[in-house]
Each structure stands twice: as structure tokens, then as C-alpha cells.
Symmetry: C2
Subunit: 549 residues, 2 copies
């Protein structure tokens, strides 16, 4: 290969394998995580140096659209433009449709598999359509992990189900929908992240699964998607002790080369999960981790901790003969093939935005989002239901700063507030409310007089760890019941918490559950508890209206 | 006039006097306050019906730019496009420059009036330049209220000072800067809102000031600006008992017609403050309030509670002869004159965005923002300063959901966190920490072991009421000192709180103050306390990173 002879060309070709991180916002000062998201001048530099992919976080659909074309302009070759929009473009980018998480459809599957499969395909179409209209061409979904560990702090409701069969059928339907919109998909996290009890963003999960268990279980959705021609697969940051006791999947030849490439015969793109995740970055340098991933069989490197170092180290590995240059050629070819699929899948698709309505979200998608909320919610009202006692609207939310579904206008706060409830929000950075007492875990005096209308927003979210999962909510609910201080309960998110609470909940207490935490889920559920009246906001309550001054 | 003969024309002409509210975001689902911000289809309808102005809140500069041109397209005539960007476009719209509040410059004025005047002019240029580049043509600033009540919960740091002379000089300089960028300004809140102790957004402030006191005091900045040809003046929602014991300023003939038009001889645009503020909406219907404001002498109606009703009632008042049609003609003329000034002020100004750099904020503005932070901060470190004891970073912030300057990445949280501090945030919707005890007001057991690094973000913000002002922070600081639990104190915002705390603060405790709450102010101040190291974020700490999953 001529690459080796010309250092500049080699560097450019290696750079093509990188997927770097950018904010979907346009302006540097808008970045939500300036320590992780490259500045405009850095992006411009990397892209003109040949970097081949960008993963985007945050911003609005209108910003993202402009952003994608900016980035493409800065690059000399076609870019892979990716986002983690597993639950719709609106999950990451304001103004797009945000759907209830896949687990909602998994629950529908129990009752009506055919309907669930058809919903999963529409789900894929919705995600793909909006992604494409924003300028993205690579959706990092579906999650193929079979969630067989209710304490999984990072997959949970993001999973399409708890059995290999249901997950396989649903992810294939999702993938079909996504395909039909002409964007690339990405099955993740190979060889399966469903059975972990720790968050790989914080520490490396270690599993004792052996190859026959993988074959019988975790591999099944991946195999089904490979048969369906999935465009790419993302590796997991987990260590499978019985398969490779030294290296996590992302860096393991045994897993990528032997299992995924050879045993499962996957010939398309393999991308690592974010290389700067703690599980990797803790142990290997930025450059070495990048080389190891390529050596293990990965094609693309997602968010290397230091992109310069990654490019440098990989170049050296080729130049020194540590890796044969054919390895680079093979990955570049697979990347090229993936990009060329963008046009092949459906030549009739208009790659320009052809939405003629005033808003980005089309009526069909808005209806679909609400339909999914309706189909997946559970409302358990008592016969003579009345929320008799006005008291405290007690909300537990994971992260107060990044809970896009919660603001002073969102139904979970505004509806009880309009009915006279005082809002008290418990969150990761708040005042402690727990004490060491198995039957009286809540420090009731901290929470006010009550009675309490309790709303718990809990789901698996990366980077949060699992201490929230460990909070003794079952004992807390029993404590509130004992003192007759609980007048309602809603769980948004985790089905396992809901079913556990359901077991201790007195039948006289109205309760509800939605797998979704989105505005539409709050609205739907609370319409049974409170009268919605957004046209007459009650300014007597302390509200955070940034009004004209 | 022919208006009266043709109902459709009359309705269109009356509609021109309205300024309705829209989100600066593009998509309906992005609206932060859907109960206050009209939807795209409503906006389209009102604008095609002739509504002549829009006030915008929220969104990013790139969204706002697109938004302004969308709105102008929906209208048949040139629009007034307004925003409350008193402290820079970045105060309301992400991606713009956000400056420390005017009170910062007022503090510089004490030491160096000439320098402060020159800074105020640059301040005006910065606001005007960015507003214009976003498509706005009407900046609802400067505040002309002389802040002579330290407990003023709504003006406070938004004011340009505490004496008529300094406020006059600074607002005139600001206005000159704004003018030079070719956008309209708006002096507010006539006849002066500086001496109120309640928030007019929540209840009607009543003042006993008489005309000679107004002449000697509150009128002075307004008179100076009128002499300088200010484009518009906004009325206040306050009741001046000795001048008009029946009607608040916005609805008072004595105040608008007799004082402002006749006594002060102001011949340009008078706009009401938001008509749906509680002080007005509580007492008069939406239609009647609109008619009364026009009758009193106002030209434009800001955010009438129900725009349809406002148009209808005003039309009826003209048709019935309650108001002479010349009144409409006069207001329309003044509006036309204001719009025509947009081009006259400086014909050399390019009304298109001519910013060639990658980011919207120009280097000059970013430097200016930092210069103001430097000039207005106070750092009071002890000689052998070390933050010896790692403990709890205790932050008091007013509104957890709308504090744009605070997130898990902002210096006030990230820097102490990286140094090992645990973050505890106190806010309007949090768990109570106060008890009825004059010398021990804090429930220390709720806050954790300490010691505490205390950061208080407090300033006058509309719609928050003044209970935060009433929290016993002086006694709380004394309590923490007594138990040797205070190892540092920072106040961001209110200078009065800072000076009160300063009086009780032990000289051994490091402390600092900035009139600004912005990221740059946090960074500047905390650089003296903590080592900034954004390149090595510590993932051991619980952080809210929405990462690739």
C-alpha cells in the first residue's frame, strides 16, 4: 500500500477511523460539557485533518441541521454523523420526537407480539426519519442487550426486552424501520450488556458467562440483526472472564475477531463504545487503547480520549509493522461500504428536508408518541378516587440539571402545584433525607407535614452509578403508608421498581406507572389525578417564569 | 379617518399596537413556557392579522436569527422584534454574550466615573450589536430605576446605580452605545421602580412618593434619556398613591399623559409593561386593561393577557366614541417613526450578519465580558489562604430549573467537586433547612458534616417574590462560624447581602463577591480558591454526563 510511503496520507487515512465528539449546539459557549466536547476550532482542525466521524450531543433540531452541514463543510470527505438517539431524536435534540423507551414496547409484546413488532418498526421509522431530516446518517441503536438483570443500572428500560426471542424480533423490526429511512443503524453492545450490575461508565463490569451461554442467549439478537444486514455493531466495555480474562470486549481479539467476525461472520463495521469511558481509560493510555481496539478487530474508534495520540499511535503501529497495513485498508473499505449504503437502501428517499408544516415534528410522529404512552401506561386508581388531601408533591429525580423532562412547567410539577400542592424535589445534589433505619428510612421531619403525592423518576442512565437503585424506596413507601402519609404514587421509568412497590402498596392508594418519563407520559398519567388547566397558570405559587421585566 | 369605516382595517391597525410573546426557539415543543408563549400557528395567525410586535424569550442566537426572519415573513408589515436583553443577548439567548449586571458598572462609577461611563457605552454597543445580528430591533433596556431600596426584589443588580446622577450618566452612555448599533432602546420603568419592596409580578407595589420627590429623584434619569432622544419608555406596574390613587402607572392618565407626555414632554413611543402581570390582570379584564392603557396615553401594549380580547375591546372603544380615532392615529405614527429610526441612526451599519469568525461572540465582546468581571469582583483572601478542609460545597440558588449559569459543569460546582467537595444545592423547591431559632436558623443535621464552602447566588429576579431575601443568612453565617464550620463564602449578585455578611464575617474566613452570576464570574472568583483543571474531569464523582451509551 502507498499509505505507508506517505506519512501525511497515512495520518489522514487513520484519522478516518475516528469518531470524535461535538455538541449539536452551534456556539462554543453553548456546549453543555466543554470538557468533553471539542470547540469549533478544534473540530475544524480535526476534520480538515481527515477525521471521518462525529458523534453529536445536545442542541435543537434546527441547530443540529445547521451543525451537520457545518461539520460536513469542514471535512474534505463524507462524514459519518452519529447520535445516540435510541428513543427518538428528541431524546438528545430539542424539537424532535421523544418516545417512551423500548422497554415500553417489550411490555406490549407480552400481550400482543404482532402489534409490538409493528410498533417497533414504526419506532425505527420515526427515529430514522427525524435523524435523516436533521442531517444525521448513523443512529447508534438498537440496543440488543437482553435485560435479564433488573438491577442493571445502565441498560434497564433502554432494552427491547428480557428474552432473546422478543428482543430479536423487536430489534429486527426497529432496524427495518430505520433502514427504510436510509440511515445506518448500530447494534449494541456486543457481546451483550444485559446482565451487568455495575455501570461500565464508572467501572468495568466482569461477567462469568461462557461461550455456550452467549450462544443460547446474548448472541441471539445480534445474530438475527446480522442476518438482517445490520450496518454496524458496537462493542461493550465489559470483561468476559471465561472468554478473555485480560481484555474487555472492546480490546479483545477473542471477542471481536474470533466471536464477532469469525463465529458470527459479521463483515460490516465494528465500532468501539466510547474509548474514554473509565473502564478503558483507567487502565490503558489513550494511544495504546486505540491501537489495541484496532488490533482486536474494531474498525472505528468512538471518542478516543486524546484524538491526536490515537492517530499518532496507530500510525506508529502500522509503520513499525506491529499491525499489517491491510488491517487499515480493510477498515477503510468497510467504512466506505457503509457510507455507500446510505444511498443504496432506498433511492427514492429525499435526503433534503421535505417537511412543509410549521413544526419539525410531523403530526403522525406526535400521534405515535402519544399512542405509545397510552399503550404502555398502567393506571391503578381506587374506585372512589379523589386526591382528598392537598399536601406535598414529592418528586425523586436522578439528575436535577440534566432532566430535560422536568421543569417548572412540566405536568409532574405544574399540575399538582395548580391543585395547591407544594413541590419538594429530591435529587442527586440535594439535602439528605435518609437515615440508617430499616423500617423508618425517611427522615420525615425534613420533608414537611405531608401527606405526600410521591413521583419517582428512575431508570437506567449511564454515568449515574447505582446508588439511586439502592435507595430503600420499598421501606420508604411502607413507612409513609404506616403513617397514613401517602396519598398517591407514580413511577416513571424502571418497571422493576414499580412491580416491587406494587407488592407493598395498599390497594386504597391510587398509583400509576409509565416506562416513559417524558412530558406526554406525565400528562397522560396525571390527567387521572389532577385537572389539567394550563391556560390559567396560578401565579400565586412560586414559579420560575422568566417574564418581561 | 377611514379606519372607522372599515372594520377589517380598524382591526388591523389596532393589532399593530400589540406586542405578543413568543419563544425564541423554533419548535412548539421547545417552548419553555407553553402556557405563556404562543404556538407557531397562533403566531402565524396573529401576525397575519396585523399584530405589530413580538417579544422573544429563550432559544439560541442561531434559533433567534431564524425565528426573527420567520416571524417577519408571517407578518405583512415591518415588525418590532423585542427582547429583555438588559445584560446582553446571552442573558436570554444561548450563544450570545452575557455580561455582569449593570450594578457592576455602578460600583466602578464610585471609584472612577469616567471609566464607568465608557464601560456603559461599550455595554450598550455589545448588547446592540448582538441584538441586531440576531434580528432583534428593539432592546428593552436600559433600566432607569434608581435602586434606593436594598430590599427591592425585582430591580436590585439590574439597576445602573443608587443615585440619580450616576444612573443618568450611565444610562445615557448605554443608550448611546445601543443607538450606535442601530437598534431601538426602551427606558424603564416609568415613573421609577427603584423604591419598591414587593415584586410587581406578584402584587401591586404602592408608593407614597409625591411629585416633587419624583422631580428630584426618579425622573432625573428619564429626563436625561428623553433629552438624549430615547426611542421608547416602558411604564411601571406600581401605584403612586399621591398622584393617582386609583390606577397603577400603566393605566394612569395622570402619570402617562400628564407627567410623561406633558410635564416631561416625551413624544416618542410609550409601551406598557406586560399587561398580564398579576398587578394588572388581577383587577381588570384583559380587554378593559388594554383600553385603559391606551386611554391613559400608552402607544403599545406588551403581552395583553388575551390578544383577541384586547383588539376587540379597543376597536369597540373607538367605534363607540369612547376614544377618538385620532388617538389611534397618533400611536401608529409614533410606532412608524420608531421603525423609521432603525435605518436613520447609522446608515453605515450593515443589517446583515457580517461576522466572519466561527462563533457568534466576537473576541472583543468576550474580552469585554471578562474585563467587567475582573473590574467588579472583590476577593478577600486571608494571608495564608488554604482551603484546608474538604467538606461540603453548599450552594444556595434561587430557581433550580431556570438558573442557566448553573449546571454540573459550571465552575461553582465542578471546581469544588474536583477538589473533593460534596455538592449540596439549596433551592426554591428543595428540602427545608430552616428552623425557627434566631441564633441557630440552620438545621445543621440536614446539611451533612461540613465544613461548608458556602456560595450564595442571590439577586433581584422578577417572579420570585422576596422570601429568599428574607432568609436569615446573616444569622446562618454567624451560626456556621460559631461551630467553626465555615471555610469560605462567596456571594454572586446582591451587593447588599454581601455588605451585610461582610460585617459579621470573621477576618480569617476567605470570601469573595461578584455582582455577576455568570460562568465567567464563577471562574474568576473560584480560581483563587481552587485549581481549575477542566481537562481532567474526575469521573469518580457522580456527574451528569450524557455520554455515549
Amino acid at each position: 500500500m502507498s499509505f505507508l510511503g506517505n506519512e501525511e496520507i497515512l495520518r489522514k487515512k487513520v484519522a478516518e477511523l475516528l469518531v470524535i465528539r461535538a455538541s449539536g449546539h452551534i456556539e462554543d459557549v453553548q456546549r453543555n460539557y466543554p470538557e468533553w466536547e471539542l470547540s469549533n476550532s478544534e473540530l475544524q482542525k480535526f476534520l480538515s485533518d481527515g477525521v471521518g466521524g462525529v458523534i453529536l450531543f445536545g442542541g435543537s433540531v434546527i441547530e443540529l441541521k445547521k451543525r451537520c452541514s457545518m461539520l460536513q463543510e469542514w471535512a474534505s470527505n463524507p462524514l459519518l454523523l452519529a447520535a445516540d438517539v435510541e428513543e427518538g431524536v428528541g431524546q438528545r435534540f430539542q424539537g424532535g420526537t421523544w418516545l417512551v423507551p423500548p422497554m415500553a414496547i417489550a411490555r406490549i409484546y407480552f400481550k400482543d407480539p404482532q402489534r409490538a413488532i409493528s410498533l417497533a418498526e414504526r419506532y425505527g421509522r420515526c427515529v430514522g426519519n427525524e435523524a435523516r431530516r436533521c442531517g444525521l446518517n448513523w443512529v447508534l441503536a438498537p440496543i440488543c442487550d437482553v435485560n435479564n438483570n433488573p438491577k442493571n443500572p445502565v441498560i434497564n428500560v433502554r432494552s427491547w426486552g428480557e428474552t432473546p426471542k422478543s428482543v430479536s424480533e423487536l430489534v429486527c423490526a426497529f432496524n427495518k424501520g430505520l433502514d427504510s429511512e436510509g440511515v445506518l443503524s448500530c447494534a449494541k453492545h456486543f457481546p451483550g450488556h444485559g446482565d451487568t450490575g455495575v455501570d461500565s461508565h464508572l467501572q468495568l463490569p466482569v461477567l462469568e458467562t461462557d461461550i455456550s451461554e452467549l450462544e443460547d442467549y446474548a448472541f441471539i439478537p445480534f445474530k438475527a440483526l446480522i442476518n438482517n444486514g445490520v450496518a454496524s455493531i458496537m462493542t461493550a466495555h465489559i470483561l468476559l472472564n471465561k472468554i478473555d480474562s485480560n481484555y474487555p470486549a472492546t480490546l479483545s481479539k477473542n471477542i471481536i475477531k474470533e466471536l464477532l467476525r469469525e463465529r458470527l461472520n459479521f463483515q460490516s463495521l465494528v465500532v468501539t463504545d466510547a474509548l474514554l469511558m473509565k473502564a478503558i481509560s483507567n487502565q490503558y493510555g489513550s494511544g495504546e487503547a486505540a491501537v489495541m481496539a484496532i488490533e482486536a478487530g474494531a474498525d472505528l474508534l468512538l471518542m478516543p480520549e486524546n484524538p491526536y495520540e490515537a492517530i499518532e499511535s496507530i500510525c506508529q503501529a502500522f509503520q513499525s509493522g506491529r499491525m499489517p497495513i491491510e488491517r487499515l485498508e480493510a477498515s477503510l473499505n468497510r467504512r466506505r461500504d457503509a457510507l455507500s449504503r446510505l444511498k443504496k437502501i432506498n433511492p427514492n428517499i429525499n435526503y433534503k428536508d421535505n417537511n412543509s408544516t410549521i413544526n419539525f415534528i410531523q403530526d403522525e410522529q406526535m400521534k405515535f408518541a402519544n399512542e405509545l404512552v397510552d399503550l404502555s401506561s398502567e393506571i391503578r386508581l381506587t374506585e372512589d378516587f379523589k386526591l382528598k388531601d392537598i399536601g406535598i408533591n414529592l418528586i425523586r429525580v436522578d439528575n436535577i440539571f440534566s432532566s430535560k423532562f422536568l421543569s417548572s412547567s412540566s405536568p409532574a410539577i405544574a399540575l399538582p402545584e395548580n391543585a395547591g400542592f407544594k413541590t419538594v424535589i429530591l435529587h442527586n445534589l440535594g439535602v439528605n433525607i435518609w437515615q440508617e433505619n430499616a423500617t423508618e428510612p425517611l427522615i420525615l421531619s425534613n420533608l414537611g407535614k405531608g401527606p405526600f403525592f410521591l413521583q419517582i423518576f428512575l431508570r437506567g442512565n449511564p454515568f449515574q452509578g447505582n446508588h439511586f437503585f439502592q435507595e430503600p424506596w420499598i421501606a420508604a413507601v411502607e413507612q409513609l403508608q404506616r403513617y397514613k402519609l401517602l396519598n398517591g404514587l407514580v413511577v416513571y421509568g424502571c418497571p422493576y421498581l414499580w412491580s416491587q412497590l406494587n407488592q407493598v402498596l395498599d390497594s386504597s392508594i391510587p398509583a400509576a406507572y409509565s416506562p416513559g418519563q417524558i412530558i406526554e407520559a406525565q400528562e397522560k398519567i396525571l390527567s387521572h389525578f389532577f385537572i389539567s388547566d394550563f391556560n390559567q397558570p396560578n401565579l400565586d405559587q412560586e414559579k420560575s417564569i422568566t417574564f418581561t421585566d
